[in-house]
């Protein structure tokens, strides 16, 4: 099992631009959406789907398919647009985003969309399930890896740390937590609302193999993931530093854009900036 695209980082950066344009158009069309989060995670998801994940559209039930849990379920808009860019779902579906009984609801629904292993939306659930998946891989001697993409505000949930404790206890070196570290949550800065720093030290103290990287730079992010020692007996935490709203000047790094959408001239301006 391997990734069907295996694109080089520069081509992934181009894909990320296309995904971001889709996000702007889709959210504007829907009239709602978590635009900031969608744009924050785009380079991470692009890197995963176009290179890192051992996954193939035609073999999603393969026992050794890499698993990805979008624990930050509100980032589903970016996820759908990535799926559309990679051909997992038809691009025309993006126009149904958030509509009544749509195939693309506002949080991940495994019964509706391919590549979703868990219905998320309430924060702090994904890592425990990732631990269980990784444990199942160890117990049944399968080679798939489990990736869990979390937000950073999400790390304020206690259940994350229950899961982290158990991931190290079970020596799950086949588990990779990616933290989309954009330093913003719904109501403002993480460090003002409930400080996460020193975040690297927290994961280290819980027994993780910790790496800090640039989550908006496909080349650096991919290099970090590909250099992980997947046989070191420790789960991995990749703190991916990102900018919420990345790619569109007036959206970048603003808490107010957590679930705002571009309207009118903003749409044109956003698309122009992404060209």
């Amino acid at each position: 099992m391997s990734n069907e695209f295996q694109l080089p980082p520069d081509e992934i950066a181009e894909k990320a631009k296309e995904i971001r344009k889709k996000i702007i158009r889709m959210n504007s069309h829907a009239g709602q959406g978590h635009t900031g989060a969608d744009l924050s995670e785009t380079d991470i998801l692009g890197s995963l789907f176009f290179r890192i994940l051992d996954i193939n559209r035609n073999e999603l039930n393969h026992p050794n398919r890499d698993r990805l849990i979008l624990s930050k379920g509100h980032g589903i808009g970016g996820f759908y647009c990535t799926l559309a860019e990679a051909g997992y779902i038809d691009e025309s579906l993006l126009k149904t985003y958030l509509k009544f009984d749509s195939a693309l609801p506002g949080h991940p629904v495994c019964q509706k969309t391919p590549c979703i292993d868990l219905n998320t939306g309430s924060l702090g659930h994904g890592l425990s399930v990732g631990v269980g998946l990784a444990l199942s891989g160890k117990m049944s001697k399968r080679t798939f890896r489990t990736f869990v993409l979390t937000g950073d505000g999400e790390l304020q949930e206690g259940s994350i740390w229950e899961a982290a404790m158990s991931a190290a206890h079970f020596k799950l070196d086949n588990l990779i937590v990616i933290v989309d570290r954009n330093t913003l949550q719904l109501a403002g800065r993480t460090e003002t609302i409930m400080a996460l720093e020193p975040l690297e030290d927290k994961w280290k103290a819980f027994g993780f193999d910790v790496h800090v990287t640039d989550g908006n730079n496909a080349a650096k992010f991919i290099e970090t993931i590909e250099r992980l020692d997947m046989h070191n007996g420790r789960p991995h935490a990749v703190i991916a530093r990102t900018t919420k709203g990345k790619g569109v000047s007036f959206i970048e790094d603003r808490a107010s854009w957590h679930h705002k959408i571009p309207i009118g001239d903003q749409i044109t301006q956003a698309i122009e900036e992404l060209e």
Partner: protein
Amino acid sequence: MPEQAKIDLREAMVGCFIRAVQDNVNLVVLVSDSTSTSKIAPFQEKYPDRVINVGIAEQNLIGVAVGLSLGGYVAVTANAACFLVARANEQVKNDVCYSDTNVKLVGLNAGVCYGPLASTHHAIDDISIMRGLGNIVILAPSDAVETEGIFKFALEYVGPVYIRMDNAKLPVLHSKDYQFKLGKVDGLTSGDDVSIFAMGSVVHEAYAAAQTLRADSVNAEVINVSSIRPVDKKGIINSILTTKKVITVEEHSLHGGLGTLISEVISEEGLDAKVIRLGITEGHFAKAGPRDEIRAYYRIDKSGILETVRKLLDT
């Protein structure tokens, strides 16, 4: 009823786990420091790699079970019902039920099993909470034979199941060839004077009350509702059409449990019936103390049921 051996339902459960693995069920049992609560030792000795202890972390217990089920295992969690339904409620709602994963939740020592340990340890809301979650099958065995039938079913069924368990050693109410049937009520006695619906270990109180009533020529139909979802509406209706007098007995809050369920059936069918619901008074936490005294206080013991039947038949 002659004196007979009493069996801890958890021992019957653990026996089912061992047989399931022998029958090639890819089973894993998760506990949250609840190895003694679940009496899992005989299984753990045989299959140490199939028991996962996540420590005192109920949210993680359920999340990890869900992950294991996604990885192809039949994942069973076994911990005290009070901590399962309350502490891990959202994991049960989203990760087990909404994501429709193949996880079996065993709520140990439910009701007021932990009598004197008070309301943190009582689970008198587990049925009402589980009934609020869309798709989970809800079951409550009344003896060891039924426990075996229920676990055999649950381990074969693909999807979420909640099983309400007791910690009492209970006599066997069913013959060895009893077959648990999902969505069917289990009539233990037949009678046309009054219908007594009960769930879990208080079925024994209802059964004992019916034996005493029989000596007074009162024929009570004792119906064990072990399949709470799906529920056997037809079976319930048929009994009530004959008796028109109904008592429900549960070691559970009167809010959202068995009494509520039976009342829903009665009102939706427009049945002409007089109903008395026995259980933990609505809007209250249960009293703390020895379990038999708690049962007596809420009239969910044999004498409370007898008194209630007589009152109902006099009206």
